[in-house]
C-alpha cells in the first residue's frame, strides 16, 4: 500500500521532494568541497612519526619493577595457558631463594593478535600493553620477541584519556 501511495504523489509533493533532493545534493557537494581543502590526516610513516599516546595498547611487554630493577614476572605460566593462539613460551627457572623467574620468555609477535588477555590474566601485573608500534623485522625469526626485547620499564600511573584537545593531529603528544 505504502508504495502505491508514494507513487501517486500530488504535484506539490513532487515539488517538495524535488527541493529536498536538490538541497541534499548541494549540501553533499559543499561537504566534499570543504574536505578537499582540508589538510589530509594521513601520516606518511617513515618520514613522519605517529606519536602514540602513553595508553596506546600495541603488544604485551614484560614490566620491570622500578625498585628492584628486575622483571616482575614469576613464571607462573598463567599467560602461557590463557593465550588464545598459544604463542607464549616460558622456561621456568629458580633462584637460590627458591623464587621462580622466567629463564626464557618468548612471544611470537608474528602471530600475536594483540588481544591483551595475557595482560588481563597476569596475577602479578607483570605484563603490560605498550605504545611502541615499530615492530618491523627483516627476518621472520626477528618477529619472535625474547625476554630482552620484551622487557620494558613502564613509567608511572597512566593519565586518563583526554577529551578533545591536543589530539595527535594537532602537533602530537609529549614523548
Amino acid at each position: 500500500m505504502e508504495a502505491a501511495v508514494t507513487r501517486n504523489r500530488s504535484f506539490r509533493d513532487f515539488l517538495i521532494y524535488l527541493y529536498r533532493a536538490a538541497r541534499a545534493i548541494v549540501l553533499g557537494h559543499a561537504v566534499t568541497l570543504k574536505h578537499l581543502f582540508r589538510r589530509p590526516v594521513t601520516i606518511r610513516y617513515p618520514e613522519e612519526e605517529y606519536h602514540a599516546t602513553p595508553w596506546h595498547r600495541t603488544y604485551p611487554a614484560l614490566v620491570i619493577d622500578e625498585a628492584t630493577r628486575e622483571l616482575k614476572c614469576t613464571a607462573c605460566m598463567s599467560c602461557e595457558r590463557a593465550c588464545p593462539p598459544g604463542i607464549i613460551a616460558i622456561e621456568r627457572a629458580q633462584g637460590e631463594d627458591k623464587k621462580t623467574y622466567p629463564g626464557e620468555f618468548w612471544i611470537d609477535m608474528l602471530r600475536c593478535m594483540e588481544c591483551g588477555i595475557c595482560v588481563e590474566v597476569c596475577p602479578f601485573d607483570a605484563l603490560e600493553m605498550v605504545p611502541e608500534y615499530k615492530m618491523t623485522a627483516y627476518h621472520p625469526d626477528d618477529g619472535i620477541f625474547d625476554k630482552e626485547r620484551l622487557a620494558v620499564v613502564v613509567r608511572g600511573p597512566k593519565t586518563p584519556w583526554p577529551r578533545r584537545k591536543g589530539s595527535y593531529l594537532e602537533g602530537g603528544w609529549p614523548t
Partner: protein, 336 residues
C-alpha cells in the same frame, strides 16, 4: 607531391595527434582523479611513485598493465571477446573528429557535427553488450543488460538537451555553435539544458552515481570482469576518453567552446589563446564530474530508470518548448 599523398599525410598527422591527446588524457586523468578523490577523503593519494605528488603513478600503472598476462578464459565467445575492446575504443576516439579545439584546430568541421557525436557514441553500448555477453559470465551479462537499459534511457534526454543550443545557433556544426556564442555563452540562457546534458552525460559515461554497470560492490567489476592486461586497459582508456569527450562537447555547446568569456574586454581576450580556454573549461568540467562522483552514492536500477524516463525526459522536452517560446524574446534583447 601528389594530392592524395598530402591528404594521407594530413590524415595520419591528425589521427596521431588525437590518439596522443587521448592517451595523454588517460595518463593525466588517472593521476588527477586519484589525487582528487584522495583529498576529498582527507588522504594524500599517490606520492611515492615520482616525487613530489606521485606524478609517475599512471606510468607505473601502464607498465603493470603491459606486463600482465593476457587471459582469454575458456568457453568465451572468442570473436566477440577479442573485438569488444576495439569496438569500445574506436568510437571513443572518433568523437574527437568534430571537437573544435580552436578556431582552426578541428579535424573536420562536419555540418552535422552534433548528430555525428550522438551517432558515434551510441556504439559504446554495442561494445558493452558484446563484452558482457562474450565473457560467458553471469555478472558481466547482468552488467551489460543494465548498461543497455541505462544507455537507452539516457541517450534520449541527452540528445534532446542538445537541441536547445542547436535551436539558438541555428546550425548542427559544432564550430558554428561555438561561433554563435561569441556574445553570450549558452549556459546563461540554457541552464536547464546544461544540467540535463551533464546528468545524462554522466549516465552515458557509466560514472558514479550512475555506475550501475560497473558496480564493484554488486557485480564484482561489470562487463569487463573477465578482461585483463591490455584488453582491459582499452575499456579503461575508452572510459577516460569518453569522460573528456562529454566534457568537451558540454564545453562546446554550453560554455562557449574556445571563446573567452564574453564579458571580458577585447584586450584581455587576446592574451590567452583559444585552445587554452577550451582545455581549461574542459578539464574544469572533468573535475566537476569527478567531484560529483566522489560525493553522491550509487542509485538503484529502478531509481535510475525512473529518473531518466520520468524526470529527465520531460524536463528536456520542457527545455525545448521554453527555448522555442523565449527565442523571440532573446532575439529582441539582442542576446543571441
Amino acid at each position: 607531391m601528389p594530392a592524395w599523398l598530402v591528404t594521407l599525410g594530413w590524415a595520419v598527422l591528425k589521427a596521431s595527434l588525437i590518439l596522443g591527446f587521448v592517451l595523454f588524457n588517460a595518463l593525466f586523468l588517472v593521476w588527477w582523479e586519484r589525487k582528487f578523490a584522495a583529498r576529498i577523503q582527507s588522504r594524500v593519494g599517490p606520492q611515492r611513485t615520482g616525487r613530489p605528488f606521485g606524478y609517475l603513478q599512471s606510468m607505473a600503472d601502464v607498465f603493470k598493465l603491459l606486463s600482465k598476462e593476457d587471459v582469454v578464459p575458456a568457453r568465451v565467445d572468442r570473436w566477440m571477446y577479442v573485438l569488444a575492446p576495439i569496438v569500445i575504443f574506436v568510437p571513443a576516439v572518433l568523437v574527437y573528429v568534430v571537437v573544435p579545439f580552436g578556431p582552426n584546430l578541428i579535424v573536420q568541421d562536419l555540418n552535422i557535427g552534433i548528430l555525428y557525436v550522438a551517432a558515434v557514441t551510441s556504439f559504446t553500448m554495442i561494445a558493452i553488450v558484446m563484452a558482457g555477453w562474450a565473457a560467458n559470465n553471469k555478472y558481466s551479462v547482468v552488467s551489460a543488460m543494465r548498461a543497455a537499459a541505462q544507455l537507452v534511457a539516457y541517450e534520449v534526454p541527452l540528445v534532446l538537451a542538445v537541441i536547445g543550443p542547436v535551436m539558438l545557433a541555428g546550425t548542427l556544426s559544432l564550430q558554428g555553435i561555438v561561433r554563435a556564442q561569441e556574445g553570450l555563452w549558452y549556459i546563461v540562457v540554457q541552464p536547464l539544458g546544461f544540467l540535463v546534458f551533464l546528468t545524462a552525460g554522466m549516465a552515458e559515461l557509466n560514472r558514479a552515481p550512475f555506475d550501475l554497470s560497473e558496480a564493484e560492490s554488486e557485480l564484482v567489476a561489470g562487463y569487463n570482469i573477465e578482461y585483463s592486461g591490455m584488453r582491459w586497459s582499452f575499456f579503461f582508456l575508452a572510459e577516460f576518453s569518453n569522460l573528456v569527450a562529454v566534457s568537451a562537447i558540454a564545453t562546446t555547446l554550453f560554455l562557449g567552446g574556445w571563446q573567452a568569456p564574453w564579458f571580458l574586454p577585447a584586450a584581455v581576450k587576446g592574451l590567452i589563446p583559444p585552445v587554452v580556454w577550451f582545455l581549461a573549461k574542459t578539464y574544469f568540467l572533468v573535475t566537476v564530474i569527478m567531484w560529483i562522483r566522489w560525493t553522491l552514492p550509487r542509485v538503484r536500477i529502478d531509481q535510475l530508470l525512473d529518473f531518466g524516463w520520468k524526470f529527465l525526459l520531460p524536463v528536456s522536452l520542457a527545455n525545448i518548448a521554453l527555448t522555442g517560446l523565449l527565442f523571440p524574446v532573446l532575439v529582441r534583447l539582442g542576446w543571441i
